[in-house]
Amino acid sequence: MNRAGAASTESRQSLIEAGKPIFVQIAEQIENDIIDGVIEEETPVPSTNEFAAFHRINPATAGKGVNRLVEDGILYKRRGIGMFVATGARQRLVGARTEQFRANFVGPLLSEAAKLGITPEQVATMISESERKSSTS
């Protein structure tokens, strides 16, 4: 009976996925915006209440996501003004994400390749070939 309403809420709420802590998702979204350069270093990030209103989530939950980045030194608080992106935050995030990339993608890629008898050199060749294809197309 409430299905009619689901569609209209979808656009905004689809940014938040079910089954994963929301504060983690908020922290990741801010991180992505910093990595993509949407939010530059030494500029303010939206307030907790702005995040809460935009995503229609509990303000305390949004605050938890922001605080996590403060603990990591990615954001810092300017008294009475709000949260700002720390200098060097982007570089540190890219470094951390590169490590995650290695663990989450390169590791499984090589173990699957080994299972099929593909050598790391052959994998490297495959990667540069598909890179060429995608850049010409």
Binding site: N2, G5, S8, T9, G19, P21, R56, N58, P59, T61
Partner: protein
């Protein structure tokens, strides 16, 4: 930091032979948004009536703002509870309700109420008896929001509200809560719609508190493992199994708390893992009696029944 405004211990309420609330204990902390969730007839409304002094407890203790709410003007002034089936005097119109609200609510904001009337397009001078179900719900929502009561209960607030009105309700609730923090208890069986608004979740089933947990801890606290029955059974052996369904040689089992390493191990053996939403988790917990049967307990099964 923890500042409990409601303390309940061993609370029981019987109606004749029927036990509506069965030995319940919990606390409610100041300025959080709680979800009081459960199936129809689980005891949600009875519990709220006990907390607001509209029912007498059969046994157990109950403190709201440090005292029993029964016949206690100081406590009752700080509460706002409009039942889903709220009755108004026969001749009443919405403007009468709004005019009398300041007599009951010390923090009443008339300007905010007027803005909400515009938002919900509520006809002020039509008899309440002639209002649609959605408009009747809007009257309750407007009073509850504009009351700014330190402890506000919403009982199935959006019954009959259209999609636009429900979005207005969520937006105004969050905006006003941010500016005027207060304790909110949102009672509903439609969990998906409100789950992101909640900071803490109380799930009641057959008069007992089944879950009393931080919403964020609850989210992501379970995963569904899908795959060949033999593989799934081997993987979930010895784990906390929340629910299990299956068809033929396939099994789908929801288990609590998997570490990153355990997830990787599951994927390595060819099992599929999927997250479990708050609603799915609660549905599975409250249908646990039938968990072993082959009936499919999906999110929609509950909505359809209600």
């Amino acid at each position: 930091m923890t500042d409990s405004i409601v303390r309940v211990a061993g609370l029981t309420k019987k109606f004749g032979a029927f036990t509506a609330i069965d030995d319940v204990s919990f606390t409610v902390e100041r300025n959080k948004i709680y979800g009081l969730l459960g199936r129809n007839g689980a005891g949600k409304t009875t519990l709220m009536q006990l907390l607001t002094g509209q029912q007498f407890a059969t046994s157990g203790t109950l403190e709201v703002f440090g005292a029993s709410p029964v016949e206690n003007a100081r406590v009752l002034q700080s509460l706002c509870f409009i039942k889903e089936s709220q009755k108004y005097p026969d001749s009443f119109r919405p403007d009468h309700v709004l005019a009398s609200a300041p007599w009951f609510f010390a923090h009443w904001d008339a300007a905010f109420a007027a803005r909400l009337v515009d938002d919900f397009r509520l006809p002020l001078n039509r008899p309440i008896k002639k209002l649609s179900r959605g408009q009747l719900s809007a009257v309750g929502v407007i009073v509850e929001l504009a009351s700014r009561a330190p402890l506000t209960f919403f009982d199935e607030p959006y019954l009959g509200l259209d999609a636009v009105a429900r979005q207005i309700f969520y937006d105004r609730l969050l905006e006003d809560y941010a500016e005027h923090p207060r304790t909110i208890i949102l009672s509903t069986h439609l969990i998906d719609e409100v789950s992101n608004l909640l900071e803490h979740v109380l799930v009641i089933d057959e008069g007992r508190i089944l879950i009393d947990q931080d919403a964020e801890q609850l989210r992501g606290s379970a995963s569904t493992v899908v795959g060949k029955k033999t593989d799934v059974d081997a993987f979930v052996a010895g784990r906390d199994i929340i629910s299990r369904t299956g068809i033929g040689g396939l099994a789908s089992v929801t288990v609590a708390g998997l570490s990153a390493a355990e997830r990787a191990a599951a994927r390595a053996t060819g099992l599929e893992l999927s997250p479990v939403s708050l609603q799915q988790l609660i549905v599975q917990r409250t249908t646990s009696d039938t968990a072993e049967s082959e009936t499919v307990t999906t999110t929609d099964a509950w909505s359809a029944r209600s």
